[in-house]
């Protein structure tokens, strides 16, 4: 293990150890900062009882659906807007108007339109992901070296072939940037939409635990959200490596 690795692992272990000991010696209250080991024990109990896996499953269902719908719409609209002038003109004012709105502010509207069920939450997540992916996809298309388009024309490619074989792969690195940002946004939005008007999901679990002042369960919720974030980052990195093998990576 390298020196740098040792420092990183050491930092985490030392802090956790200090935290554990401070709670055990009574210097920190379990109500505010439960010890790492008791959080772990609570997590294990909630996993065995099925409470935590079920909450994760309910939330993941909303996140994945919202993410996929939003990402697909964002990629398609972004490619079209980036490549076709009049489509960009038609979309531009709407993007400019809706992009700055915190997408959580749209949730009440979606509750009105789609009801208390999953749809309103999925819609909020989808819209949040859509705009991030859309904006990054447009940037990706615009960043393509115009000589590449010329070369494709010169080699005999039709407009559709240029779209498929030059614009799409050319924008792909930026599309993945959009997807990564979108995944983060999806987790934020699933938490926010699960605070109110629902009876299931990881956000609901966390918020209910807070209202009962069950700090251990709050921590379990926070840690689980963190794990979901890490898992989604890994998954997208893996997909990016698969989808863009030509990109030079430093590590």
């Amino acid at each position: 293990m390298s020196r740098s690795h040792l420092r990183k692992v050491g930092s985490v272990l030392l802090l956790l150890l200090a935290w554990q000991l401070l709670v055990q010696w009574g210097k920190l209250s379990e109500l505010f900062l439960p010890a790492p080991l008791s959080v772990l024990a609570t997590m294990w109990e909630m996993t065995r009882s099925g409470q935590l896996p079920w909450a994760v499953l309910v939330s993941l269902n909303r996140v994945v659906q919202g993410f996929v719908y939003g990402a697909l719409a964002g990629i398609v609209l972004g490619l079209l807007a980036g490549a076709v002038g009049w489509i960009e003109d038609v979309l531009d004012p709407w993007v400019a108007a809706v992009y700055p709105i915190p997408k959580s502010a749209l949730f009440p509207l979606f509750l009105l339109w789609f009801g208390l069920g999953d749809q309103s939450k999925i819609a909020t997540i989808a819209v949040g992901v859509l705009f991030l992916v859309l904006v990054n996809t447009v940037t990706g298309v615009k960043s393509i070296n115009p000589t590449l388009l010329k070369a494709a024309v010169d080699l005999g490619a039709s407009r559709f072939q240029i779209f498929l074989k030059v614009i799409l792969p050319g924008a792909l690195p930026n599309i993945f940037t959009g997807l990564r940002l979108g995944a983060g946004m999806a987790l934020i939005l699933v938490f926010i939409t699960e605070i109110e008007a629902t009876k299931a999901g990881l956000g609901f679990l966390l918020w209910e635990a807070f209202q009962l002042l069950d700090t251990k369960q709050v921590f379990v919720g926070v840690v689980t959200f963190g794990l979901l974030g890490v898992a989604s980052t890994w998954l997208l990195q893996w997909l990016e490596r698969l989808g863009c093998p030509w990109i030079q990576r430093s590590n």
Binding site: T147, A152, L155, A157
Partner: protein, 255 residues
């Protein structure tokens, strides 16, 4: 003749100011099949624009362009090799070289076999599955050449293809270009601003002057190959080009 230009003109209009800039004025030129024609001139003389017009990538504003001998065969009329290579970064060497045949509907086995043959021709055997960023500048330009050849064009157009390379690499690639020109028997039209490159490569040199871009003179280079810059006859032609174009280059620098 494989290509005839008659009074070709090109006018750019600058949208912001409404200004009209004459890039090319009344360019007439006959290109014989199999020759290596050099378009030589300072920046702003419209030599690259002329190449784009021949390639069909830019419309001409006036005049006429004809390909009298290009009717036969199923290849394209022209194919371009760009200065900055313009390789698709997401395609391997093989994928880049077979792009043209792929979009023109050639069956996979045929186009792959063809690409392998061309990759060998440009001395890149063993690099088929590399991405462009894993190659040196000289190797990238070889890929660009193989890719342009893959469509079996009658005329290959070169837009200052070696300008971005270091002197040694340029020298090696100049020799390779001559070898490939001789082996394929294709017509090359080659844009450069280097007097020595013009003399090393060209069968004929078209001297162009700037603002507006015009053909100033056409010089035959009846020297045998391989040519050497230290050679007496070569040096004489370089001197002559310098005498003809020296003022043009100075004028282009001043504007």
């Amino acid at each position: 003749m494989i290509l005839e230009l008659r009074n070709v003109g090109k006018v750019w209009s600058i949208e912001r100011t409404g200004e009209r800039v004459v890039a090319l004025e009344s360019v007439s030129l006959d290109v014989a099949e199999g020759e290596l024609l050099i378009l030589l001139g300072p920046s702003g003389c419209g030599k690259s624009t002329l190449l784009q017009i021949i390639a069909g990538l830019e419309p001409l504003s006036s005049g006429e362009i004809r390909f009298p001998a290009a009717g036969a065969g199923n290849g394209k009329r022209t194919s371009m090799v760009f200065q900055d290579y313009a390789l698709f970064p997401w395609r391997t060497v093989l994928g880049n070289v077979s792009f043209g045949p792929e979009v023109r509907g050639v069956a996979r086995a045929t186009r792959d076999a063809n690409a392998h043959r061309l990759i060998e021709l440009v001395n890149l055997k063993g690099f088929e599955h590399r991405y462009p960023h894993e190659l040196s500048g000289g190797m990238r330009q070889r890929v660009a050449l193989a890719r342009a050849l893959a469509n079996d064009p009658k005329i290959l157009l070169f837009d200052e293809p070696l300008a971005a390379l270091d002197a040694q690499t340029r020298r090696v690639l100049q020799d390779e270009l001559l070898r490939i020109w001789a082996e394929t028997g294709k017509t090359f039209i080659y844009v450069t601003h280097s007097l020595t490159e013009a003399v090393l490569l060209g069968s004929r040199i078209v001297l162009m002057s700037a603002s507006p871009g015009r053909v100033k003179r056409i010089i035959d280079v009846p020297l045998p190959r391989p040519r050497h810059l230290t050679g007496r006859a070569e040096a004489d032609i370089v001197d002559r080009l310098d005498a003809e174009l020296g003022d043009e280059f100075k004028r282009a620098m001043a504007t």
